[in-house]
């Protein structure tokens, strides 16, 4: 029932895409298309939430499409329901935002048709119930998002982003194809129900897990497969960036969960090792990269890598616990991961919407050209502030809850019998704590440089508040951040069916705990009550304000900036994004990025400006991609000679190839 309904929604998305091709050039096409997407996303969101809450396995729908005699299988179980809810929540918000933001698009016909297609693709991946449909939908999602990345193809950087994205997406699909090949086995069990009954040997299962980690990790942006992400996400229009960063990466997380927890059967303990290593590295490296960037949207894209790292850390923990039969701990870790999936979709969308609002009102993305936007853009700035606080894991917002749950899961892991894991897990815990602290630093920098201080350019000075559609899209998501933070018990309980469907265990029912606290294991161990912390802080702030206004002087005088008695009229003297990051670059950047600062002083008497030059080396590019590119170029150069042979040589090659093949066939046992 639910599957049919959602398929119907997908069908409507696709027809909206076709409609957009037809009417893309007309005057009112933008609100019409985005409005349609908003309606359908809301419907699909409702469908997702219902199938999540009912917790039923769902019936299978087979469409006579795809491979002959197999057809396309679709099904919505609670896990799919949860991700459908996340996808369509993000989709609805992006559509709402798009109604306002889309008006600033110069060439709407380059964006409008692909936007609903992208939404349809993501929905299809989550619903797919056989390997062929899954991979087909995966490619559809990748290609439609690629088209959106290339919407402003005129800019040189975007063309490069598109190329890198295409290559990495092909790599990911290829790896996933191999993984599903192994899963399906020689008999071709394509349907997921058949795959579940098909038992793999330990080695094969391990190979599938590594392949799945590479394939989904390249889409989600795990280091070192992340290189396309910070190029592609900023290149797209802002509401599409929000979808790609906040939602599409979650579809990749879904794919990993589906393969690792559902299709593969019981896990081995060592599976979690590559997951934990890659994800812990991603969490810290992602945010360090973000700290070094100057482009607002690129900072956000790198911070997505960090959050994906956090999510995969919890998935790795869940695999570890499952392998050792610690089901309650596994359920806790998986709940933390899914909670963070929702959280990241919420606050990262707000942040990208905010970046889009800044882009619309100033035309700028470089943080060093912005500043002081809090005064002209009060609504946007407070909503972005909420999202910044949430992503920095500050209580009582939602980011803190998932992080707290993840820490609680780590605290359960001394029960693990394997020595390797007992060393690895606390190290990953330290990485998680480090990434949280760095994320707070990163978002102080983002908000402080962009919204606070004095405007650095005339464009920033003349900024205006954005339209009501964009504001309301941000407002809805930001208030959801607060709600999920102060009432986390309800979210945990709604996630529980999907956790239960995977590992046959769940966290204690939070709805029955007094005062709406959340308790991961037992009350004596740990508990947290976001609502009470919120009320408690609000009351004490109000009390302080009341007492201050009652007894203290209320006189206020506006005066020029004091600045230690050294007022300077130029806004260039305030801290810039670069200078703010300098201490952290010195501390962490030197070992990781081989950061080097060079000061170029002109000769005495020469009036040329002094320069400070910072060089950073990207370890992922240098250690992994440059050798691959070099190898490819080398092979290409060698093969290049084949192009200039005579017809005699070509015929000779064909002859030898034929003989070799025949010999192989003859000798084949």
């Amino acid at each position: 029932m639910a599957a049919t309904f959602t398929l119907l929604c997908v069908g409507i998305f696709l027809s909206i895409a076709v409609l957009a091709v037809l009417i893309g050039q007309t005057r009112n096409s933008t609100p019409a298309i985005y409005g349609g997407c908003l309606m359908i996303s809301l419907l699909a969101l409702a469908g997702g939430i219902i199938s999540l809450l009912t917790g039923a396995a769902g019936t299978e729908v087979v469409l006579p499409l795809g491979l002959p005699w197999i057809g396309a299988h679709f099904r919505i179980d609670p896990l799919a329901g949860f991700f459908l809810a996340v996808v369509n929540l993000g989709g609805a918000a992006a559509s709402l935002y798009g109604i306002g933001y889309g008006r600033h698009e110069h060439e709407p016909s380059r964006v409008l048709p692909f936007f609903p297609a992208f939404l349809a693709g993501m929905n299809l991946v989550v619903m797919a119930d056989d390997a062929f449909t899954f991979l087909f939908s995966w490619e559809f999602m990748s290609l439609s998002s690629w088209a959106l990345v290339m919407a402003h193809h005129g800019e040189r950087e975007n063309a490069r982003a598109g190329l890198v994205y295409l290559i990495m997406a092909s790599f990911g699909t290829l790896v996933l194809l191999l993984a599903f090949g192994l899963l399906a086995g020689p008999d071709g069990f394509y349907a997921f129900t058949a795959i579940r009954t098909h038992h793999l040997s330990q080695l094969q299962a391990g190979t599938v897990l590594v392949l799945a980690l590479l394939g989904t990790g390249s889409k989600a942006g795990l280091v070192p497969l992340h290189v396309w992400l910070p190029l592609a996400h900023p290149a797209a229009p802002s509401h599409v960036s929000a979808l790609m960063s906040g939602v599409m990466t979650k579809v990749a997380v879904y794919a990993f969960i589906r393969i690792a927890f559902d299709l593969l059967g019981p896990p081995d303990w060592w599976w979690s090792v590559p997951v934990l290593v890659m994800s812990g590295g991603s969490a810290v490296l992602g945010v360090l990269y973000a700290m070094m960037q100057d482009d607002l949207k690129r900072v956000l894209a790198y911070s997505t890598i960090e959050n994906i790292g956090i999510i995969f850390v919890t998935l790795g923990l869940a695999l570890t616990f499952e392998a050792n039969g610690l089901h309650a701990a596994g359920a806790l870790a998986l709940t933390a991961g899914l909670f963070h999936v929702l959280n990241h979709a919420l606050f990262k969308s707000v942040l990208f919407f905010g970046a889009g609002a800044v882009l619309v009102s100033t035309g700028l993305r470089r943080m060093d050209h912005l500043g002081g936007l809090i005064n002209p853009m009060p609504v946007t700035s407070i909503l972005v502030l909420v999202a910044c606080a949430a992503i920095s894991a500050l209580p009582p917002l939602n980011g803190f809850v998932s992080e707290w749950l993840a820490f609680q899961a780590i605290l359960l892991s001394p029960q693990l019998p394997q020595w390797g894991l007992r060393l690895l897990v606390p190290a990953v815990g330290a990485l998680l704590a480090l990434s949280a602290a760095l994320a707070a630093a990163c978002f102080v920098r983002v908000f402080g440089i962009v919204f606070l201080g004095r405007p650095r350019t005339p464009a920033a000075q003349q900024a205006r508040e954005v339209d009501l559609w964009s504001q309301s899209a941000m407002a809805v998501l930001a208030s959801l951040c607060l709600l999920a933070g102060i009432l986390p018990g309800f979210i945990i309980d709604s996630i529980a069916p999907s956790v239960y469907s995977l590992i046959k265990a769940r966290m204690p029912v939070q709805g029955q705990i007094q005062w709406l606290s959340i308790v991961p294991v037992a009350e004596s161990r740990s508990s947290y009550n976001g609502l009470l912390v919120f009320i408690f802080s609000a009351v004490s702030a109000a009390l302080a304000a009341f007492i201050i206004h009652r007894f203290a002087s209320r006189a206020t005088r506006r005066a020029p900036i004091w600045d230690c008695g050294f007022p300077d009229p130029s806004p260039a003297t305030q801290y810039s994004a670069e200078s703010f990051a300098q201490p952290i670059r010195r501390v962490f950047g030197t070992p990781v990025f081989r950061a080097r600062e060079q000061v170029e002083m002109p000769e005495p008497g020469n009036l040329a400006p002094a320069r400070i030059i910072v060089t950073l080396h990207d370890p992922a590019w240098e250690a992994l991609y440059t050798p691959i590119t070099n190898a490819v170029s080398f092979v290409a150069r060698q093969l290049d000679r084949l192009q200039f042979l005579t017809i005699r040589h070509y015929l000779g090659f064909v002859f030898f190839a034929l003989v070799t093949l025949l010999m192989v066939l003859a000798l084949w046992p």
Binding site: A393, I410, A427, A440, S526, N529, V533, A555, T556, S579
Partner: protein, 318 residues
């Protein structure tokens, strides 16, 4: 009836921390002055300073935003809530289950987040330098703190401060390597978090070295008073935290009678005095570090915390 008693204890505890915080700051200043053979201001001077600041008008920079004016209240309330969650003279506080030690760390993290934003609001180079150094220090101090929390929580089987203190009080904990490492790391983190020498100097206005003060430069009047009070509260919080976890003697258990409670209050006063004296003594014996030596100091704290956790992970008996 029991609820009312619990509520009263919680209320007394909240008022107690608020009233004692400036005294602790004054005490540390006084001891420092005496150790330097100066007379020093009275212990009550911080109260007079706060009162004086409250009566003064606020001078706001022309381009200061609403956030700049809201932040003092946010910082004060978050610090107060965090301080209220740390058992001072009694365990089993009413609100202790609403947030654990991780949440206390995160609450303090949010005060820093907002203070750093306040430093950048007006758009001066001093504010920026303070904020950027503050977040740099935090990126090491916060994970170190979390690792300390891990060590304690693994030992006691709980991140709840009341249970933690109860565990330390009742179980034969003995001398443990992990606990020792955690104590050293916690002291280092506390020194850094409160902006004390050798990380920062709370009494300086020397531009090149200041961190905390640099962020506050543009604050005046009642706003400054609130931030100063919050800073005192934070110092008190860390001393109480160390006291309740590592020196839990005298803490009155839930449902104790009045005399036990009074013993608890007395023991708490002694702990504060001892903590303040040791801090002042430490501060007079070391010199302020260069800013870029701070990562080494805090890196050591992080390593100690991690080592403490690792030791617990690899050995079940320790």
């Amino acid at each position: 009836m029991a609820v009312i008693a619990d509520l009263a204890i919680q209320g007394i505890q909240m008022l107690l921390v608020l009233c004692l915080a400036p005294a602790l700051t004054g005490f540390v200043r006084k001891v420092k002055a005496r150790l330097l053979r100066r007379r020093g201001p009275s212990i009550l001077q911080p109260y007079r300073d706060l009162w004086r600041l409250m009566r003064k008008e606020v001078v706001l920079a022309e381009n200061a935003s609403w956030l700049f004016r809201a932040i003092p209240y946010l910082i004060f309330s978050a610090t107060w809530v965090a301080a209220a969650l740390v058992p001072t003279f009694a365990t089993g506080l009413l609100f202790s289950w609403s947030a654990d030690l991780i949440a206390v760390t995160a609450l303090l993290g949010s005060t820093r987040f907002f203070l750093a934003l306040a430093g950048m609001d007006v758009g001066t180079s001093f504010g920026g330098i303070g904020s950027s150094r503050e977040v740099m220090i935090a990126t090491l101090a916060e994970p170190a703190m979390i690792m300390i929390v891990f060590t304690l929580a693994l030992l006691a089987g709980s991140t709840q401060l009341s249970s933690l203190a109860g565990f330390m009080l009742t179980s034969p904990v003995g001398l443990r390597v992990s606990l020792g490492l955690a104590l050293i790391a916690l002291v280092m983190v506390a020194v850094a978090e409160n902006g004390r020498i050798p990380i920062d100097n709370p009494a300086t206005h020397l531009e090149l070295t200041m961190v905390h003060e640099a962020m506050l430069l543009e604050y005046s009047g009642r706003h400054l008073a609130l931030i100063e009070l919050a800073a005192s509260l934070k110092l008190l919080l860390y001393v109480s935290l160390i006291g309740c976890v590592f020196l839990p003697w005298g803490l009155s258990p839930p449902g104790a009678d009045v005399s036990t409670r009074l013993v608890g209050v007395g023991a708490y006063g002694l702990k504060l005095a001892a903590g303040g004296f040791l801090l002042a003594f430490f501060e007079t014996t070391v010199a302020k570090m260069r800013v870029f030596r701070v990562p080494e100091f805090l890196g050591a704290a992080l390593m100690l915390g991690l080592l403490g956790t690792l030791l617990l992970f690899v050995s079940r008996s320790l």
